[in-house]
Structures are given as structure tokens and as C-alpha cells.
Amino acid sequence: MMLRIKRVPTVVSNYQKDEAEEGARHSSGCGRNCFRSCCLPGAKLPLYAFKKVSKVVCGKGSVGTENEEPSIDFLDSLLIGEWEDRMQRGLFRYDVTACETKVIPGEYGFIAQLNEGRHLKKRPTEFRVDKVLQPFDENKFNFTKVGQEEVLFQFEASEDDEVHFFPNAPIDIDNSPSVVAINVSPIEYGHVLLVPRILERLPQRIDHESFLLALYMAAEAGNPYFRLGYNSLGAFATINHLHFQAYYLAAPFPIERAPSKKITTTSGGVKISDILNYPVRGLVFEGGNTLEDLSNVVSDSCICLQENNIPYNVLIADSGKRIFLFPQCYAEKQALGEVSSELLDTQVNPAVWEISGHMVLKRKEDYEEASEENAWRLLAEVSLSEERLQEVKELIFESICCKIEEEIVTPVTLEESDDTPSLMKTLMRLKASNLLWCLCSSIIPFLSSGLWSFMEFSMVPLGFVA
């Protein structure tokens, strides 16, 4: 039996058409400045070359040119700047900052967004969900078909241990560059796709090199509010061309606040823990003597899962210092008809962002009635059972050659962790200030509501005269 679900595929590129249309277009030739051999010769794109670092706690990308002071957060600025440029050029299907968003009241702080435009104008398509690894299919949409204007920059390791930026670098076809492209249906500001070695046409499947690249991107951006995510096939990836997603959301995700309980530490110093007190069961990886240690343990685990045909999602948080791994079974349940129609009606696809606590809702009524209970109910369906997770964990630990030694440690919460990003730390310190906190909490409600008259009254400083 083959398990399939029907869903509306996400339009990530302006050149992504319905399959039938796509086939017709394909035979008629190109001429649309795509990322394939027909259009690439002579094409140029900015190139950001990052410095390979050995420590996990890595410095932010500092660009060393001449006597220039190293600039912090260069990658961050480059990405946001290029993204805003594409926004002002009108390449996106909608302005995501015009989509309403809110923190759902409650203990966990789930974040809800009403996004009515994301799934319009697309027919539901059948997706096979019972095979995590599927071969690359050139006939289906893939990232070589995007327009070059949708690609922001090339991203690669520097050859000389220094960060470099070339505003106009030729695209080296033989070297198959890794690129960062916009997602034309963003779910938050700065939503991009990292496509490793785009021209190699890799299927959606984790390998060591690609995962390390994603981790470097998180570390290099150096912004805890810029997270990367990965969905395997069967866990709501819709495009079978290797890619990671990323976007900005300057608020903690509920998953980042969940406590954890240490299971073991690998020989490379990577601490592996169970996620506690969260609707989706999973593992957290952090630490490691080098970034590569951390990357290898996580990619080994991912490879183990995909080879065992277990769909999963990955979140790279805290600038690459913490990685969450969630094996999941929602799509399988959905295909088997085990998900309630009430949940299905919301059409929410629990991919990595939803699992992390950022719920993108398509119907106004779901947004207005969004509650912690509803979010929890959906995510609980995503999670493997305790027993099943135990089996999966055994598979994982076997493959990464670790003995599971249950150790009693105090749950590490975000607040307590030493690895808490400095920005967050500072914010938390600020929280100690009663006045500031109170002021902020008193200001935020009227910012988000439409109480303009109040805002006008309280925020207009002196000397405001007509």
C-alpha cells in the first residue's frame, strides 16, 4: 500500500507552476534567467565566504578587508538588506508584515499568524508520505528552476580562513554553489531557503556536509532570532530538492523555552537530552568540542532516521548552538485517516515551524480562536508515542555509537543555560527592571491593537503641532 496525502503545495518560487503547466513550459525552452545551464553562463551573484571555525562558540562573521574594523553581523545585514530589496521589487506573493500575528496567551507562548494568502491559487496535490527518501525528479519543480532574481547570494566556506564578501561574483557552474534564495510565500520576515550545492540536484535528504553548511549559516548570522529548519519528506517537505528554511522572528519559540533532561554526552562533547513538558517528543543536541562534532552527531541521527524511513523535522536554534530533532508521524496518521476532521479542516501542516511553536493559520476563525489547548492538541498528534520514541532513540543511539546512560540532571531551561545568547540575556536582565517591563507590557497591547487614539495620546512627544 502506498500512503498519500492531498495538500496544497507551497509556492516558493514565482516560476513554480502546477505540474501540468510545468511540463508544458519545459518543452518550450527557457529564456527566463533561471539557475540552469541555459542561463547561468556569465551570471553573477554576491558571494559570502564564511570562515570555518573549530569552536562551537564561534565569533560572528567578521570581514577582514584592509584596515577595516571587522563588522559584526555582516551576514545578517546582507541577508536582510537583499531580502528587503526583493520585497521592494515586488517579488513576493504578499507582504508578510501585513499578516496579523500574536502571542497566544498562556504558559508556553505559542505564536499564531494569520496567513490567508499563502495557499491561494494552488490546487491540492497528492504527496507520497510513506517514503522519506525519494529520488530526485527533474520533471518536478526544483530550485534550478527559480529565477536568478530570487537568489540572494552564494554561501560557501572560505578557502583561506577569512571571511570574504564579493558583491559580484561569477557563478562557478563546475563547483555547484550553495545559494540562499527567497521563499516567495514567506511565513515571516526574511524567509529564505538555503540550497546546498544547488546544481548537484540533491534530493531532500540530510548529509554531513550539507547539515554543517546549515549550521555554519546559523552561527555566521549570529542572531538568535534567525533560525534554520528542515522538513524531511513525509514530514511536510513539499519539494524534493535538498533545502533548509530560515526566517527572522524576534521572540522566543516555545520549544526554546521547554526544559530538557540530559541523556548522555558523546565523546565529542555533544550533550543529548530529552525535551520535557512539550507536546512533541524529541531530542535536543547542544555543545560539542567543535561545531563539526555537533553537526556530525545531528546528521548521523538524521541519516539514521531517514534510512529507517522515519519522517522528521529539525530546528537549528540559538545561532547554531542548540538543535532540536523531532521524529513525527502526523502525515502517516493523516494518510491512514487517523486524524480528526476538526484538525484536518484547519489545513495546518505541522512542519518544523509549527512544531517549534509558530503556528501559521489559514482561516480567520482559527486565528481568532487560537488557544494553547488548540495548539497543543494539534502538536500532540504530531508526536510519536513514548514507546515508539524509545525505539527510535535506541536506533539513533545505536547508529551514533552511544550508550544511553540515564543521568539525573536538573532540567536546563533557556533562562538557566549558559549558552543563552547574549541578546536574550540582556533582555532578561532588562526584565529585572520593573519600570521598563511594566512600561513595555503596557505599550505592547495598544501597539498590536488598533487603539490609535490612545497611542497618539501617549506617544506623541512634546511640540507636536500642526
Binding site: 502571542v103 558583491p167 506617544m459 500642526a466
Partner: protein, 389 residues
């Protein structure tokens, strides 16, 4: 025992954000800020002007109670009046004989007002402005003073009623001033020195400016700027950043060349280039940068872009405080809050005049866009609501 210096300063920094000290130090006035929540009611901030006037160093003043400036000839009644005002958490204005570090006495007009916390209404600080009184033989009529004083205070109220932190204190200030006008006449008879109208105006203006700065730095914009400017703006001194509050009704006005959008944040680079102090810029409409040779069609272009809630880039002739013109390569863009509505416009200018270098190959235009994006992320995320910690 005096509270520890570090602790005292920290108490001040915790109440306000960002560059509040810098902003306060930009101001020429002589003033101190005290914290009644710390035992001994110590001074937590003293302006440069004040330190210069009394001849003490900052470290000799911070953490001390204001009484260290009093001496044998200081009128006990005036001191009692201040003490009573502190206890009753109200404003006060008295003439006071104080002593410099070298022991020389001097007369000054002391005006003090409480700063209330928005949250629980507690008094968190007192701002005390000291205006040196120039001794003179002829005195103004008592009646004249009180009328002027009332007018002045009403003016202050009109200008300040929209504030949130200080609204109460300003109302208090007026009540106090009105009721104390009788005392002034008594004072005039019994005291060797009285403040002139000019000095009182000066004191009131200083108070309102200080409150404006304090309010600004305890408001959203302070927190907001903290979030993004630390990351995106500090390294780029060539970028002048203004955040303008978007007011729905203002865009429908047809008489003004530029819509009314008060400035709620201005970057350090902006201050440096234009020569204004922060308190002179906040609350202003960006029209004040225009001058005689500013092209009205460019202003119209900006107005149209604001009206249609679009981003635009223009080259506009602006004027510094000293009225010298400069070319402003300005990009402005609407910024939406979490409910998806335009809440601000951010204006980012590249200092066209300064010898600009392409830092790390990122074009200045790209950096403008980068700041726009960072502001959008910050505003959207910060206005998302309910903190759940």
C-alpha cells in the same frame, strides 16, 4: 552608610534604556535625579551643568543626598518645604541657598517634580532642576509673577498632557505652582532673594525637557532601538536613522507639505550631522529639517509615498541647526506592527557629504534596506503582545 556607587547607578540604568545618560548629558541644564526607593534618597544622576555649578566631581555626588549642598545660611523653611514635597510626592519650586564644594554660597531656584511609574503609580524618581538666581535690586511685582507663572504652567500642561510617565507630575506641578503663588509674595518680603520670571521659565522648560527624555527612554522606542540598533546601526555611523510615528489622520491633511509624523527616535549619527540635541528633535515633525531652498516637489514626492504607504528614495536638501544646508540621500519605508497596520515610517539617510567608503562591499543603499528590514522585524516582533515569561 551611603549606598554603593555601582548599585546606585545601576538603579538608574535599569529604569531607563539605551543612551539615556548621553541624552541627559546633551542638555545644558543644571539638574539632578534622585531615587526615593533607595534608602537615603540618593542622587542617581547629576548633569554636567550641575557638577560644574557646584564644583563637585560626579563620584562625589552620586549616591549622596541633596542635603550635602546645604549650609549654615540655608533657609530651614525652604528645606522643610522640599522635604514635605518629597513625602507628599508632589512638585515644588523654592529659592534655596546652596553651597559649592569650596564653601561659597549661591542662590538658586530649585524646582522639583516626581516621576511616576506608569504601572503602579509609584514615584520612581524625582527630577530637581537648579537655576542660579542672578541677584538684582529691583523686584517684579508679586501679582505679575503669579499670573505669568500660571500661564507658563498651563502652557507646560498643554505641551505635556500627552505624555504618559509624567502627566501626573505636570498636573501636580501646576496645582502646586498655583497654590504656592501666595507664598511667593511672602517670600518676596522676607527673603533676600527671589527668582525672576525668566528663571522660572527656564526651570519649567528644563523640567519638561528632562521628563521628555526620561519618557522617551522608558518607552517602546527605547526598547525597540535597543533591539535593532545595537546590531545594525552602531557600526554604521554614516546612516542617520529617524523613526516617525505614523498617524492615520495626518495623511489626509492637505495644507502641509509633509504630513505630521512626530519623530520618536533619532540616531546618534543624526544628532551629530544636524547639530541638534536629541530632546530638540524628538516630537518634531521632519519638516523642521527643510529650509528655504528645499524643493517642494521632493517634499510632495515624500508626502505621496507616505499617503500611499510605499517606500521611496529621494535626494532632498535639508538644513542643520545652524541653518547650513546638506544633501540628504533619504530612503523612507512604512513599518507595520503585528496587526499588519502601518505604525511607523523609518527614514534612513546616508550622509552624502561625508567621505563615504563602501564598507565591506555592501552598498550604502543595501545598508539602508538592511536597517529598514531590521526595524520591520523589531517592530513586528515587539508588538506581538502577551509576554508569557
Amino acid at each position: 552608610m551611603e549606598p554603593q556607587l555601582g548599585f546606585v547607578e545601576q538603579s538608574f540604568d535599569l529604569r531607563y534604556t539605551g543612551w539615556v545618560r548621553e541624552a541627559l548629558n546633551d542638555m545644558p541644564d543644571c539638574f539632578t535625579i534622585t531615587d526615593p526607593c533607595i534608602s537615603g534618597h540618593p542622587i542617581v544622576f547629576a548633569s554636567n551643568g550641575f557638577l560644574k555649578m557646584v564644583g563637585y566631581s560626579k563620584d562625589e555626588v552620586i549616591g549622596k543626598n541633596g542635603r550635602i549642598f546645604q549650609g549654615p545660611e540655608t533657609d530651614r523653611r525652604a528645606v522643610m518645604e522640599i522635604r514635605e514635597a518629597v513625602r507628599a510626592e508632589r512638585a515644588v519650586q523654592v529659592s534655596l541657598l546652596n553651597y559649592r564644594k569650596d564653601g561659597t554660597p549661591f542662590w538658586m531656584l530649585f524646582q522639583m517634580c516626581p516621576v511616576f511609574s506608569k504601572e503602579d503609580g509609584r514615584v520612581i524618581n524625582f527630577v530637581g532642576v537648579q537655576v542660579p538666581i542672578v541677584l538684582r535690586k529691583t523686584r517684579l511685582s508679586g501679582l505679575g509673577i503669579s499670573r505669568n507663572e500660571i500661564n507658563l504652567c498651563e502652557d507646560t500642561v498643554l505641551r505635556c498632557c500627552r505624555r504618559e510617565v509624567c502627566s501626573d507630575s505636570i498636573l501636580e506641578l501646576r496645582r502646586e505652582s498655583v497654590s504656592s503663588s501666595h507664598d511667593d509674595r511672602e517670600v518676596e518680603i522676607n527673603e533676600p532673594c527671589d527668582a525672576s520670571e525668566l528663571e522660572k521659565t527656564k526651570a519649567s522648560a528644563a523640567i519638561s525637557n528632562i521628563l521628555s527624555v526620561l519618557t522617551h527612554y522608558s518607552e517602546l522606542t527605547g526598547r525597540l532601538m535597543f533591539l535593532f540598533s545595537v546590531k545594525h546601526c552602531q557600526d554604521w555611523p554614516q546612516l542617520l536613522i529617524l523613526l516617525l510615528l505614523f498617524l492615520e489622520h495626518a495623511i489626509h491633511r492637505t495644507d502641509a507639505l509633509l504630513p505630521d509624523m512626530p519623530i520618536v527616535y533619532a540616531s546618534d549619527a543624526f544628532m551629530k550631522l544636524t547639530g541638534y540635541a536629541r530632546h530638540e528633535v524628538l516630537g518634531q515633525n521632519c519638516r523642521f529639517l527643510s529650509g528655504i531652498d528645499t524643493d517642494p516637489t521632493t517634499q510632495f514626492q515624500i508626502k505621496e509615498c507616505i499617503r500611499s504607504q510605499q517606500a521611496c528614495t529621494v535626494r532632498i536638501l535639508n538644513y542643520r541647526k545652524d541653518r547650513t544646508p546638506f544633501w540628504n540621500f533619504l530612503h523612507i519605508s512604512p513599518v507595520r506592527n503585528a496587526s499588519g497596520k502601518v505604525a511607523f515610517f523609518v527614514g534612513i539617510q546616508i550622509d552624502d557629504h561625508c567621505n563615504y567608503r563602501e564598507l565591506h562591499g555592501l552598498r550604502p543603499e543595501m545598508r539602508q534596506l538592511s536597517v529598514v528590514g531590521a526595524v520591520k522585524v523589531a517592530v513586528r516582533s515587539l508588538s506581538m503582545g502577551a509576554s508569557t515569561s
